[in-house]
Symmetry: C2
DNA sequence: GCCTCCAAAATTGTGCACAATCTGCGCGGT
DNA sequence: ACCGCGCAGATTGTGCACAATTTTGGAGGC
């Protein structure tokens, strides 16, 4: 069910080719991760092993392994004997994730600003190329593409800074940001505006000292500010509040 | 073999009590992690699933799961069809890990310095208590205790800063630092001197602005400086260089 | 009418057997 | 004497069957 149109019957081939094993796993991880990021799988969704196995055409233990990896990255929550759920961050956790991003991305921007000018051509090309992609996605109102590209933009800057370890940490934090946005986004909010990214690129190229760093901090603050991080500690309270006026007392 | 004195025959009880399942896993993770940190398991060591299973008295798939978790944390390396090995970081990776620690721990120290004075009593108590423990370990020349306590000290500061997400990230980086130290430590180096920690505690309590942060950065720099992070990119290159003058051309 | 309890169904957890792969070693050919 | 080949032995990878647990649905009692 759902959009599992890929459930081709090639599930159990007579000869198990193990060559595509590891890539299949990371493919599934990425696929689920993206689905969570662009809200096709909202926080709290139950992820039944059997369903996922059918959807991806793999065995259940493969899915189990993938879920363990995603749980390690705090993208899904594993409850013993209950199963896997798309993680539903608390407001506290959401704030922590954004604070962690500010810490790491400030350091990344400071390193980028310290790089000798002009920036290497390939860096400039990739920055401008990515900016064009974001513009196109915004013009086409392709929300899913915008979300994906927005995350990739921050990752791209991290890669230019040249610390793969920090980049890896940031990749996790970006995934969790997407989760936090999915959980706490207000109606009619515009995620990660491509305009901020445009200004960031310009500041980075122009290199007014400290400007790009300041813009990045302001950008992250703005994204966090667009969230509704009040109370909302429990789903049950939510349901009661939502249906309060539909429950006729007599 | 090895120190597997815990191989009690209770390996396969007729009724499998699943109650102690999750705790057993984290226990094994911690146990292996500590063994790696204090060099009982040096980088590159092969971790055979069967051996570990016997050593901990659990089934092989339990061990497999634990190894997957450790691999995710970059503490062990998983090579397909070859098995698990204690990770052997490259000099580049070691430098990256220390840079990442400087980024995160600087932020933590800045937050601690921004806390209102005097610091809460329980914080002061824990700081002083930990300092006493480190002193005792140093006095007793208990190297394993010193390594463990040193890591705990940095983690303690992170907890006081109140961001569990950053603390979790730092915990991973500390483990990888231990690995880097094990891989690149010079002979006759003194790890993480308890003296640095003493000064850090004093600066934190006294609160001369910026002093504690500066001490932390200097402390991390000093630990990294004690490592030998030259060349050594590959074992083969090493071998060629080492035996270059023993290869007679005629 | 509502609550409690129990059994069936669904889902997750785990041991086991076997398949696939890698490593080490000896044999035969050139 | 050296190189390739191939055959055990050991180790990892995976599907499957079954056990344990939770959830669901309904019957019975208060």
């Amino acid at each position: 069910m759902t959009t599992a149109a890929t459930a081709k019957p090639a599930r159990r081939t007579p000869r198990a080719r193990t060559g595509t094993r590891a890539s299949a796993e990371s493919r599934i991880v990425r696929s689920i991760g993206e689905a969570i990021a662009d809200r096709r799988l909202p926080p709290g969704t139950k992820l039944t092993e059997e369903s996922l196995a059918e959807a991806f055409g793999v065995s259940r233990e493969r899915v189990r392994k993938v879920l363990l990896l995603l749980a390690q990255r705090r993208v899904v929550t594993l409850i013993p004997n209950r199963g896997a759920f798309v993680a539903k961050p608390t407001p506290k956790e959401a704030r922590e994730v954004f604070e962690a991003r500010r810490v790491i991305e400030r350091a990344i921007m400071e390193r980028l600003e310290r790089m000798p000018r002009p920036l290497p051509d390939d860096v400039l090309d990739k920055l401008r190329g990515h900016g064009a992609l974001e513009d196109a996605a915004e013009l086409a109102a392709d929300r899913k593409a915008m979300i994906r590209l927005s995350g990739q933009f921050h990752l791209l800057l991290a890669e230019f800074a040249g610390n793969a370890t920090l980049t890896g940490i940031l990749a996790d934090l970006i995934d969790r940001s997407s989760l936090a946005i999915a959980a706490f986004e207000r109606r009619s909010s515009h995620t990660c505006s491509a305009d901020d990214h445009r200004r960031l690129i310009a500041a980075l190229i122009g290199n007014a000292p400290g400007e790009a760093t300041a813009l990045m901090i302001e950008h992250l603050d703005e994204v966090e500010r667009q969230l509704d991080l009040e109370a909302k500690t429990d789903t049950r309270i939510d349901l009661k509040a939502i249906f309060a006026d539909e429950h006729e007392p007599a």
